[in-house]
């Protein structure tokens, strides 16, 4: 069993598991941090950005962190755990010869589609006449400033995919529900479990009859909107692959949510605007719910909230219809019937308005001071670029970062100098180290595999030995491009036995409760299933006048020799020997048993745990007698 690690990013994993002749890709996250090296893509012409000395705003491509470690066309299935971890899907399924199937839950597919659509939309609505590639030459790259100079593998950076590729990739997705068992080629069974992180997010169990691998990715034990995490099904795993822990181990989501609200209220009260760069699904639901409760208490009732994204409407509506994927509280609301999320009420009362973009209706209804939720959190593309340009100059305004995926200082770099206040409240509800160690204590996997980042404290807080995984035995770390031999060997295979064959068996009890029988059968292996069938009887020999040919003779099915079991008790055996006139016996104790030297006969009997040897030269009658004496003590099967 091998694990190929294609991504070094612990929260955007991409691993391939080879297990029992199947090749399974676990997630395909897209690391887009390389966009931070580029200038923002403004929606309207920005004199400031275009006049920056030595900078030309024209490129916007995305890094795809994949190494050709293995042929993507050999992948049989891809298991997706949440919508953030499928953004690289078109790069894998398109133009690679991929012919397999992708498994995901319905919300994962739908919201993943929205996020991809949004990304494509952000890119395509500001088309570029040309794209520069010359800078990627080593000679030129060396002379470039800052982090770009040090970027590695720039040639592997790819342009963003198109809508057509997205649709084609998503057409290969097959929907599954929680705990649904999907059999792959009869060899393994995979099934998704609720992971509690986002709508439809799942962990996966990959098991054969005798082995169980759990894949834990992006799970949460907090009570937010999704169904709670299913922990008990992870028990008794041989290997647990652990990815997607919180990126902010020191930031408590509750504290951050409180921080978000108080900073928001503080800014609005002072007459400023609040900009929240965020993804169009996920934490935003919780933010809106929190604000729904907070609005009244903070006297923010009249402040408009805007949600701007090409998929804003769909995102808000989708969340309301995936009732079965929600936590119990929200599910019960559906039966009342009430919308499960309170943002429906915010929309009804006109407190929350959503627009596909800043163009059109929004520009006529825009009122300040206000709160704007919009993408992309990297501040490099999307409507957020416009608001940064618009509000950056006033110290009354605040930008509050809630997504932990990008370094907020890097994201802000091209907008400096900035008068606007910046607040960093990263909200990451995924498991923290404390929760993980509790979880692992509970489910007790034999081996844990995790990204190497989890095996040491974070660089900035090297004294926090609690911010790492400490397990016994220690977890197996992986990094990008490593290939791990998973530390367990398959020892057993399940074999079925047909009823008629089973009927013909004659078991004999070797010790209480254990019976043994000998089987003669034909082993048939098909679709990774093994069956024992009765040996076909020789067809009745047709009366033939022809001369028999040796070749045609059916194989003579000889009755198998009986098998012996049991042990020869030394004292009793000596007594028997004596009864048969053999008195001069010298017993020698060895590591495995005893050696009996029959001195008169010059014969040796070796009694060992798994065999008995009688060594006597040319005295066949004696040998036979001795053999029979030995056999008296043994059981025949």
């Amino acid at each position: 069993m091998k694990l190929y690690c294609l991504s070094g990013h612990p929260t955007l994993p991409c691993n391939v598991l080879k297990f029992k002749s199947t090749t399974i890709m676990l997630d395909c996250g897209l690391d887009t941090t390389s966009v931070l090296n580029f200038l923002p893509l403004p929606l309207v012409h920005s004199p400031r950005l275009s006049k920056l000395p030595g900078w030309i705003s024209k490129d916007g491509s995305i890094n795809l962190e994949k190494r050709e470690l293995l042929d993507l066309s050999t992948i049989d299935v891809i298991l997706i755990s949440n919508y953030h971890c499928m953004m690289a899907l078109p790069y894998i399924t398109e133009h690679t010869g991929f012919t397999g199937t992708v498994y995901a839950t319905e919300p994962t597919l739908q919201i993943g589609r929205l996020l991809m659509e949004e990304l494509v939309n952000f890119m395509e609505r500001v088309p570029k006449a040309q794209s520069a590639t010359c800078w990627k030459n080593k000679e030129i790259q060396r002379m470039l400033p800052g982090p770009l100079k040090d970027a590695v593998d720039v040639w592997t950076w790819k342009r963003c995919y198109s809508m057509q590729e997205v649709n084609s990739a998503l057409s290969k997705v097959q929907l599954v529900g929680y705990s649904q068992k999907v059999e792959l080629f009869g060899a393994v069974q995979v099934s998704p479990l609720s992971s509690g992180y986002s709508l439809g997010s799942s962990n996966w169990i990959i098991q054969s009859h005798h082995e169980k691998v759990s894949y834990v990715s992006g799970s949460s034990l907090l009570t937010t909107h999704p169904q709670p995490m299913d922990q008990s099904s992870l028990k008794n795993s041989d290997v647990l692959i652990l990815t997607g822990l919180t990126q902010m181990p020191t930031a408590n989501p509750d504290g951050m949510l409180g921080e978000f609200c108080s900073n928001l209220a503080m800014t609005i009260r002072a007459g400023g605007n609040v900009l929240v760069p965020c993804y169009s699904s996920g934490v935003i639901y919780d933010l809106l719910e929190c604000l729904y409760q907070f609005i009244e208490s903070a006297n923010l009732g009249t402040t408009p909230f805007y949600f701007i994204s090409p998929v804003a409407n769909s995102s808000l509506e989708f969340s309301q219809i995936f009732a079965e994927w929600l936590c119990h509280n929200k599910q019960t609301k559906v039966y009342l019937p009430e919308p499960p999320f309170p943002h429906a009420e915010l929309i009804q009362t006109n407190k929350l308005k959503h627009y596909p973009s800043i163009h059109g209706d929004f520009s006529s209804e825009f009122r300040q001071p206000c709160v704007v939720f919009t993408g992309h959190p990297s501040l490099r593309f999307g409507d957020v670029v416009h608001f940064m340009e618009l509000w950056g100059k006033s110290s009354l305004n605040t930008v509050i970062f809630t997504e932990p995926d990008f370094s907020y200082l890097d994201a802000l770099a091209p907008y400096q100098p900035l008068a606007m206040k910046c607040v960093y409240c990263p909200i990451d509800t995924r498991l923290n180290f404390h929760q993980v160690s509790k979880l692992l204590k509970e489910v007790q996997p034999l081996h844990v595999v995790c990204p190497e980042q989890y095996t040491q404290p974070p660089l900035t807080q090297s004294h926090r030995s609690d911010l790492m995984l400490e397990l016994q035995p220690p977890p197996m770390p992986y990094r990008r491009c490593s290939v791990l031999n998973l530390p367990f060997r398959r020892r057993y295979e399940r074999v079925y036995i047909l009823p008629e064959l089973a009927n013909s068996l004659v078991p004999s009890e070797v010790k209480p409760g254990v019976s043994v029988a000998t089987v003669s059968a034909v082993l048939q292996s098909k679709d990774n299933k093994h069956t024992l069938q009765s040996v076909p009887k020789a067809p009745p020999v047709a009366p033939s006048k022809k001369r028999k040919r040796v070749m045609e003779e059916p194989p003579v099915t000889m009755a198998p020799k009986p098998l012996l079991s049991g042990a020869v008790p030394l004292e009793a055996f000596l007594a028997t020997l004596q009864k048969h006139g053999i008195t001069e016996v010298k017993v020698e104790e060895t590591a495995d048993g005893h050696i009996l030297h029959l001195q008169a006969e010059d014969t040796l009997i070796q009694l060992e745990e798994d065999g008995t040897h009688i060594v006597c030269d040319n005295n066949e009658p004696l040998r036979a007698t001795l053999r029979d004496l030995v056999l008296r003590f043994l059981q025949k099967l």
Binding site: A251, S262, L264, S297, H463, R464
Partner: protein, 864 residues
Amino acid sequence: MDSQCVSTLPRVCGVLLESGSSLPDDTSLEKLLDWFTTIAQTGASLLEACPCLVDFVSKVAFNHASGSSILSFTLKLTGLIGTSEDGFKVLKECSVLKLVFNPHHWQEAGLWGDPCLRIGWIQGLKMILQHSEALSFFAQEDLIEPLLQLQTDSSLFVASAANQTLAQVLLLCQSLSSVGHNCSKNRYLEHNSVSIETTQNYSGIITRVSEYLNKSVVLKEISQLPGCQQILRLLAMLLVQVGPPLRDTLLLAVMNSLEELVTTSCSQLTVPLMDVILAANSGLRDDFVPKQRLIRLLWVMLNMKKPAIVMQAAAAVLHSHHSDPTFSAHSARVLLLPLDIVTGVSLLDENSTEEELRILITEQLKRKSCISMICVCLSNIPQITLMASDHLPCPQRLIVTAVLMLLRLCCVDSSSSSAGCVEVVRFITGNSKVQKCALEALLVLSKSPGVKMVLVDVFKVLTEYLNSPSSDPSVLQKSYQAVIKWVGVCPDLSCITDQLREGFIQAVRKRACDTRWEARDSTVEFLGHLGGAPSCRSFTEQETEPSDVFLGGCSFTVPLLKEALQDPESYVRASSISALAQTLTPSWQEGAALTQEQEDIVTRLQEVLFQDSEGFARRAAVKYFIAWLSACSSPSSCWLLMQSVPTVLSQGVNDLDWEVKLHTLELAELLLDQAFPDPSPSHPYAVMSDQAHRLHIAGQQSDLLSSLKDLVDRGVVSALLCGVVDCDRPVALKACQLLLKLRGVVCPVMGNAADTRVFCQLAEGSVMQQVRKIQAMGKDTYVVSEACSEADKEGICASVDPERVGVCEVLRLLDLDEKLSILTQSSDHIYNSPLSLLQDILTAAAASSQPGRDLHQELVMDCY
């Protein structure tokens, strides 16, 4: 005692005898006993007052059919009767005493197993043990044996009462023997033979107790632990209470056992053991032989191999204010050790004797239990700071530095690491218990000498805590308290840099918008406290307000507090109102001009008074005006205040919340005091001519008249008249007192002439009704009453408007003195009288004896 009670009591006794255990409300027995106790305490003889009690006691004693609660009551009652020597004699004569206090008697009846009875026995015994007669009885009956058995009774209440009774026995022995020594010449001369006998008794008892203690202070197996703890507690109590010769005897008796017990190093025994050792140590004469042994014991405890025990022992030494400085110095070193190890701030110099303990504690700190150890260390810092500086292992400034370091390590957001123990960080980071303890310690440390150097660090750390998203509301509150405390000790605030101030302002502003109301509340309270903090002097001798230095003054604070007036949580609204009052007080005192902002606030406060659904906010609003009125240098010239007072008074006195009403009356009192300031005491020998006197009276009259008119105009009088008929007793009482004050000032001077009559408008008809009722009750009342004349009657009736009353007339008409005497009695004075209690018992017994009545229903009714 009132005769009705005397006549009812025998019947009650009869009922108690009959009812057995079926008394519906057993608290009545407690009340009955309380009543008897008060009678006995007034010095009267209980038996003379209630002669039927002896009969009752003897009947119960011979009749086992009574329930355990009645038996217990009877035992206690017997003790109460026997408290006096006469009562004791009577009981002895009718041979009740022997029977009642004989445990075998109860054991044979199978009643001794009931803890209720045992506690009755002990308490009864404790009560009679007041005189030598009782002690002789105690000795003759050999009651010491059962009493000792009860020392470790399974019931904690019984055991504790038995402990106290044993102490009582020893104290009595002690006092009687000393009396015997000193006064044998005169008083005990004639009882010489008795005296010798008693002395023998005493020594017998003391020997028995010593033997018992010596035998019980052992811990051979874990099952003995609770008993051992109980005995140690008893021993500590005895050592504190008894005096020298007896004390020495006891100590000598247990010394060996104590030494053995210390070697068991059982952590559950540390605290009681230390109590015993310290109690034994305090006030011990130097020539007392076991002193050295005791000191050695103390050293053993302080040098155990278990850090938890050593820490507890050290804490006990510090708390006991042990006189020997070597011990307290050593204890301080022990207690500071964890702080030293965790923070890496070297508080203690290298000392080889502590090396072993340091290793042990370091090991302990790597476990989860480090939290409690650090908390013990921090919570003893107040004691350490009280020590003389030459006994401290390090300057207090260093302790402050260490506490600050610890606070930094505990803060989730700070990335500071220490030179100390790294493993501990995982446990204490973000632990609010440690954070609170450390902040508490920091509060105390503000008084330390030489802390000016760390001032900036203190404020930096506190700002960090105020800013941290993961700070618990209780931690925030403590941080705010620490800021206030440290601002108070600041000689000048020049060290506060702009950057620090900016960070601080940001934090406070953010907390004012916190999602948790507790955090908002603490913030608002803090703003008030800072506004009220005394100003400090800077180097330039310029006075600076701390709130100016930290927050840029009122221009920052007041808008923030105004915002908080709209808070959805009533506590926050209330706090913001009080904070506004505190913040604005200085400007009121200076008589500064009113701002638009203040006008807005007053408007908002009136809204609160009229509309707020919660009492807290309304109470605070009334208090705001009280603060304003008392701080204002010349209230009459402040138009806004004078304009709002009538509204506040009329609204406040009609509030639903009695505290709001009471505060409103306090406001009225303030106005009353300002209108009629205490007259300067006139010169005792001053001679005033008749004419001058008349002129003086006339002048007084006109002054009073205008003051009274003012009061009426401001609504003070109508508020008082409204309050005096209020259904809430404290409100009515206060109003009544104020009206009496007003009557005292006004009525003697004011005549009845029509031109001096002041009328008052009453919005509510209630007081009018009462006045009319008094009128209707018959003219005789007030014809006879000299206080009111014919003119008064006219004053009330002649007014055209039925809602208008003449002030002086009403004051005279209302029988305020009678009202006051009624109101000063507690509201349950009727229901709590002994007679009512006796009647209750009779009624309850009668009700329960009626067939067909459901007893349970009765009980349920009683509960409600």
